[in-house]
Amino acid sequence: MGIRGMLIRSSLPLLIRLNTMRTGSGPSLLTPKLRKGVQPDPSDPRTWWMAGASAARNPIPVMAQMYDHAMFLSGVPAQKFYSDAAIHINAIAAVSAYYGLDAATGGGDTYNYEAEALGQKMIHSDHAMPDIDSREPLIRETGDLKKVKVPDWERAARIPFILEVIRMNAEMGFATGKFSAPFSLAVSLRTYPKLIRDLRKDPGFAHDLLTFLVDEVLASYLKVQKKYCGIKAATGADAWAVFPNLTPELTEQWVVPYAERLFKKCTDFGLITMAAGGGGDYCEERIEKFDKQILHRCFAIQQKLLLNTPMLILGMGRWHEYPLEPVAEYLKKYQDKGIRASIMANLNARLLRDGPPERITAAVKRFIKVLGKAHNLAIVLANIPADTPPRHIHAAVAATRACSRLAPGADPDEIAVTVPERESFQKYIDTMSGGRGLPGR
C-alpha cells in the first residue's frame, strides 16, 4: 500500500462521510456530527440551524453555496460579511436554518484570501464580495515572481478571518479546510490571459509559478490551517480549471500534477488535500455544444482530483438542461461492481434565481429519477445569486424532501410537490431572535 493508501485508511472517518451518502441509512457527508464547540443558545443562529438540521435522517441532503445570497438576505454590509467571522457564520447559519438546509458552512471569497495575503491588490465595496483588481496583477512580469514572499499566515490580510470561519465550521461538524487550488491561485496573481500565454509560450515560468505556489505558499498556509482549525482534510476551489476555461488536455497537464504535488506535500504533516471544487467540472454554456466525450474526459480528471473515490460532482454547469443519461453511463462501471457512487448534483445558479419554482422542482426530480436509484445523491444549490427569491430555494428543498424516499420503481414525476408558504426571512429572524435581530449585524 502506498502513502496515499495509508493516508486514506488513516482518514477513514472523513472518507466514510464522503462516500456513504446512502439512501435511507448510514452517515452522510453532511451529517453534523461534531458539535462540541457550540453550546445550545437560543440567541445563536447556529443553534437554530442545529435544531432543525437532520441530514442523518434525510436520504438526499440539500446543501448550498450561498455567500452573496446570505449577505443580501441578512442585510449585512459586504465589508463586514467578508471580514467578521462571527457575523459571517451567524448569517450563513440563520439562512441555512430558514431554508432547512442540511449543511451550514461559511467560507466566502475562497479564491481571494491567499492572493490578498501575498499582496495582490483587491477592490472592497459595501455591496459585493471583494474582487481581485485584474488591472494590477501581482505578477505582471515574470520577474515579479521572485519578489513574492510567503506571508505570516496567522496575521496577513484576511487570513485570520477565514481561519476563524473554518474553525467555526469545524465546531458545527464540517471540519474541512478551504484553499484556492494552485491553478486558480496562479490566475489570481497573473490574470487568465497572461497565464494561458505562459502555458503556451513560457512553460518553464508557468511550472516555476505553480511549483512555488504549491511548495512554498499553499503547503505552509495549509499547515497553519490544520494547526489553527483542527482539520484533517482540505478542499481546493479551482473554478478556473473547469471546462471550457481549460480543456481536458490542459487540465491533465497543468492542474492534476500540481494537485498531486500538493497532496504529497501535505501528507508530510497529516493533511489530505483534494482539488474537489471545480477541477474537471463541465460547464459548457451552449447546450447545442454539449459533448459526451468531453464530459467523460472531464469526469475522468475529476476522479483523479477526488483521489479516485467513487464520487462525482456535477458542478456549476447547466445540469437542468444537459442530458443526464451520459452521467449514468459513466457511472455504470461502479454500478456493475455493486458500488453506489456519491453524486453532488448542483442546481444551476441562474435556474435558482430565475425560476419559476416548477422548473426548479422538475430539475430536482430529474436528478432523482435518472441518478438517484443507483447512486447516492446530494442536491447542491450552486452559488445562489444574491437576489434569488426565497420561494425558489424553498421549492428546491421541498422537491428534494418530497422525492427522496420513494418506493422502488416509483416515479418522481408522479409526486406532487407543495412549496410551503413561508414567512419572510426578516420575520423569521424576528421570531427566532425575539425581536433582537441577527446577532452582530
Binding site: 465595496s125 455591496h127 474582487d131 485584474s134 490571459p193 503556451r200 471550457p244 455544444k289 459533448d291
Partner: protein, 212 residues
Amino acid sequence: MSSILEQVKQAIIDGDEDAAQAHAGEALQQGVNPLTVVKEAIVPGIERTGELWKDNVYFMPDVVLSTEAFKAAMNVVQPHLAALSADSRGRYLMGVVAGDMHDLGKNIVTAMLTGAGFEVIDLGVDVPTPTFIEKVKELKPDILGVGCYMTTTMLELREVMKGLNDNGLRGGIKVMVGGVPTTQTFADEVGADAWGKDALDAVEKALSLMEK
C-alpha cells in the same frame, strides 16, 4: 490575399500576439492600406476564431489568446485609421459595473464587436454609474453594453438604467447586458433591450439592434 495579410490573419487565429503585432507592422511598412489590414486580415482572423469556437474546435484559452493577438494587431493599425468611425456599423459604449473587476468576457466581446465593424469605446472595469451616464451624454453611442460578472454587482445595472431614465437618455440608446450571472429574465427585469449570452451572441444581438 497577399502573403503578409495572410500572416496577420493566421497569427490572430493562432493566438500569437507577438507575431500579430509584428506582421501588422510589416504590412503597414509594405504600404498596405491600414483599412485593408483591418478588413482583410484582422477581422477575418477574429471571425475565424469565433467559427472555430462555435464548432467546438477552439475553447476559452484559444479564444482569449486570439483576442489578445487581435488587440495587439489593432493597436498597431488603429493610429492610422482616423476615419474608421465613419465606416462603422455603429458606436458601442462598453463597460463593467462598479465593484466588478472581471474583464475577460468584456475583452472578448469588445474584440468580436470591433471585428464586426462597430466602433467600440471601452470604459474598462469598475465603472461607476455616473461615469456611464456622463459618457453616454458625451459620446452619444448607439448601444450601451454593460457587463456584470457577480450576482451582487449585477444589481448595479438597475442603477444604470435608472440613471439613463432620470437623465432622459433612455429613449435615444439601446442597452445590452451580459456576463456570467445574467440571463434573459434578468435583462427583461431591468428593462434592457438585449442580453448577450456569449460573445458571438452579443455581436448578433448588437447587429440586430442596429437594424431596429
